[in-house]
Symmetry: none
């Protein structure tokens, strides 16, 4: 289980890492094991739709048990499959890097979704936040 304090720590570190790397304004969401929001922050200057994108990345990771990079690979291999799966979730998944699973003792307890810079950099800051809070990340 991710507590709110842990979720906030993940966001704080992810954002600090983004500043350190000189990234664009980031938006970061932490979802619980059921795909529901625990905490979210959108940095000044980010566009207004960033919550939906951050959540879409993390939501797909939790609901499918697949981090964004795996979803992306699958989408490239079998576009119709990921499209259909997405439809089954009302189109809410955003299957690209930046949706990172959060594990504790090998069990998925949630996911972090980051958007704002390139997908790979989004994923890197998510991993930094998750690990700093004492969890295992799967990007």
């Amino acid at each position: 289980m991710i507590t709110l304090d842990e979720a906030r720590a993940m966001i704080a570190v992810a954002r600090a890492k983004g500043r350190e790397m000189g990234l664009n304004p980031l938006s970061v969401v932490v979802l619980d094991a059921g795909g529901h929001p625990l905490a979210f922050e959108r940095e000044d200057g980010a566009s207004p739709g960033r919550f939906e994108i951050a959540r879409g990345k993390a939501y797909g990771a939790v609901m499918l048990g697949m981090p964004g990079s795996v979803q992306k690979a699958r989408a490239e291999e079998q576009p119709f499959f990921m499209g259909a799966v997405n439809g089954a979730f009302g189109g809410r998944l955003v299957p690209v890097p930046g949706g990172v699973l959060v594990l504790q003792d090998g069990v998925v307890v949630g996911a972090v979704g980051v958007t704002g810079d390139t997908s790979d950099k989004d994923a890197a800051v998510a991993v930094a936040g998750i690990e700093a809070a004492g969890f295992e990340a799967r990007a």
Copy 2:
């Protein structure tokens, strides 16, 4: 405009006020002037659907320019009207106290939505957070 730091200050004060008042675990969202999330926190022990409720309260306030108490009064007077208006927004509004407008120089710049305890107490902590951040609240 509400900055992320101001949004986080609103949430911090609203949550502190909730603890001071001995309220149930709270969930607090801050939306911008277009109804889009800036920041959200869900306290430990709150049920997983709280983001949607907090957002629904704040979203209706922003989109209609009416705080939750006014929406509720209107819903009691003309249930079919508020039901229909809600439908026009895809059913996303939650027209009860706890959706509080944030004003700056008399202009609506966003809204805070709180859920977890009774609607009136939810509204009270939202007001506390908004005022502590230097804005005017309309509950």
Copy 3:
């Protein structure tokens, strides 16, 4: 058929009438005979969700061939009926005064939807706009 120039004239007169009557900031939409937008204006100071409400009023009028006042009476008499009808249109109808049919030689050619003040005043300015443009209004 309503031309764009006629639609703009309806909006201009409705807005002027609103100022003359000292009403709140208004939002006015003109829909064609198929319920699709021809023109829309939202006055400064109106809340951001006003397009959906204005359209909902006019859309119900066109799609059911019933002005807002008739829809409202029906909703009060038979709430389940109007609720179900609204569901059949994806919840997009707002069945209150302010949705006014536009007729030409006795045939419905569109509708005007106004929102911002009380429903009856909204309807009054819609009628003023429609008649000034040389059409018959049914409110």
Copy 4:
């Protein structure tokens, strides 16, 4: 912030530019910084679905902070990404040129969406309207 008078000026100039260039009947929407309609006009002879297309172009620009040309390039590079992002917004985005960001002092304050002719010409008239109203355009 874009006032209604400024929005109407953008539409007037965009339409005049379209006539000057001999374009097909145009439909032009102006959205605020939250993606909500301020003003819309559909020229005589345009097909009835044009509001949704104009809004979809402008809505994606605002919500993602990316003008239509950037969205299109991204959609060509990573079709599954833009498809998924679109799903996260309920399928409302139309990621092609003609969705043009409106900036004031370097900050996005809204977007103009134009549809009716080729996407590049749609974008050109949007830019003309935005600049004539004293704003910066990003197409």
